[in-house]
Symmetry: C2
Subunit: 341 residues, 2 copies
Amino acid sequence: MPTIKDVAREAGVSIATVSYVLNKKDQNIPPHTRQQVLNAVKRVGYSPNINGRNLKSSQSRLIGYAWHLLPPDQVNPVLDRFAYYLAQEAEALGYHLLTFTYPREDPLPVYQELIQTGRVDAFVIASTEVNDPRIRFLLDREFPFVSFGRANPNWQFPCVDTDGRAGVREAVEYLISLGHRRIGMIAWPEDSISGSYRVEGDLEALHAHGLNTSEDLLLRGENNETAGRNAVAHWSSLPIDQQPTAVIAVSDLVAVGVMHGAEEFGFVPGKTLSVIGFDDMYMSQYLRPALTTLHQPIREISAEIMAMLELLLSKDAPSEPSMRLITPRLVIRETASPPPG
Amino acid sequence: MPTIKDVAREAGVSIATVSYVLNKKDQNIPPHTRQQVLNAVKRVGYSPNINGRNLKSSQSRLIGYAWHLLPPDQVNPVLDRFAYYLAQEAEALGYHLLTFTYPREDPLPVYQELIQTGRVDAFVIASTEVNDPRIRFLLDREFPFVSFGRANPNWQFPCVDTDGRAGVREAVEYLISLGHRRIGMIAWPEDSISGSYRVEGDLEALHAHGLNTSEDLLLRGENNETAGRNAVAHWSSLPIDQQPTAVIAVSDLVAVGVMHGAEEFGFVPGKTLSVIGFDDMYMSQYLRPALTTLHQPIREISAEIMAMLELLLSKDAPSEPSMRLITPRLVIRETASPPPG
DNA sequence: CTGTTAGCGCTTTCAC
DNA sequence: GTGAAAGCGCTAACAG
């Protein structure tokens, strides 16, 4: 690979001059010399070596993003798209994404190593949990990062998240407008942070309309198909006038379980039992009936995150850490209709 | 961040000595000095800066992997797991994965740039196509890479692939053993390379048992749900004694379409119309009935690819480019049973 | 306007 | 056994 020296020799100038024209500094290079250099660059096929540049400027122009493979080969259908868009946005700003993995029980050493060796200039954190140790760790070290997802309302850090509360509120309002009066929800365990916001949205809308929010209507489970089926099993055991006619599932995956459970227990999904999911995962459009769901605005989130990151990385005096909530979009397909009767 | 100088000062030795003990060269460092250095390293919290190291050794210890977002937000359910395992394997060998994107119509400039700037030491190529221009490009420049997927039988390059032919052959044999005699297949368009191997496996098994391979049984379409439904629509219009009793779908996504189409046209998926898919995507286990499918051995493939890459990157005289085929595993669930009657 | 030069952090050859 | 020093490719302060 040609270096700056080759170009200098070829153009008959010094390496400094080459660097100047390439970095378009305010140095007044006369057009003639500049052209000479540019020609030489083209002739020898030169691009600045990024390692040399990085060493000099002590940066890496790499953003670390940790991948999360959930227990058994499970991939979060939202996060894979997220990573793609993140990479794309990063590239637009002259960065690249370094994707890495870590043992679920012990993330910190990996982050530590990446920082210490100067591998990355910043991180994007996803799949946050309550009091996420990674966020605490980075905050303590004042290492730049932006998170997709909240972790602790008392910590100040730059963060973008889906507004699950507003999304679910809208979904419930929609069901109410369809005529539903008993609306169930299947949530994640109480320690799930994004799950909690979604539940809040549910309760808010229900309260606003003076509807029943009894315990029987709010069930919880892990993020899998079984959780949905179990919930329907439970509801079908209730007296008929206490059974919900519509359900909000905390994720599309759970919604799939609801649809299966519905069939199993004598409901007609989308007819005698309406369902609304959350995520809009790729398969959801192909389910029968096609799933009405809240679309996670992944693309906007990625863009927003990278914009924040750029700000952090560019200005020396980082402004107040801000938090941006982005409202999911209700995608109306076939699983929500007026209640029977 | 502390540098090697800080350690040297702290330990009262020269930077060379520090480097020697850290790189465990055969230099005979007496245990006492070595310990002194190690203590100093710990005390100042030092890790070698990777940019310095990279510049010196003119490498980056980064593997480039291009992401592929198919048309409308579609993510290949296999490739996201692939990327995860690839990252994991790379890390085990002291590399990291740099994930990048490129415009579908014009990949080369992005690869070119990554090479020229010294950003990556090698590439892993996935989603290969016939005569894949990226492979031709890298071959011409003698830049190290390993591909997941074949491209041209006349080109010599290191490559790992799923043995679609063997997999489909096994699936068809299985259907035959169940008693099926008319077995259809839904393939991708003829220019799909991995699709062609899967078709070969189908035809081989059919021929071996002297079964019908008429044109009506081999249908083609894009990689989506519609392709599966269209195929069933076509078959249901055939005289009953020409309709297949079982179908091999070239992917799980297509298989989903078959299941929907089956219901729509009066078949019972898994009963009056057996279906076997390909991929074992995450959702397949949750379909009703659960999809019998060929599991892509993604983990093994990633490991094999990284092993090949390491060989390429380590030895100066790269051995013969080899090709490894890995046979998918038939995962028997609920969509294949003996034919009716 | 342009060139000389120092130095980013590291590895490694060559001397002592 | 250990250290001095060169140099990887680049940027930028400083001369001239």
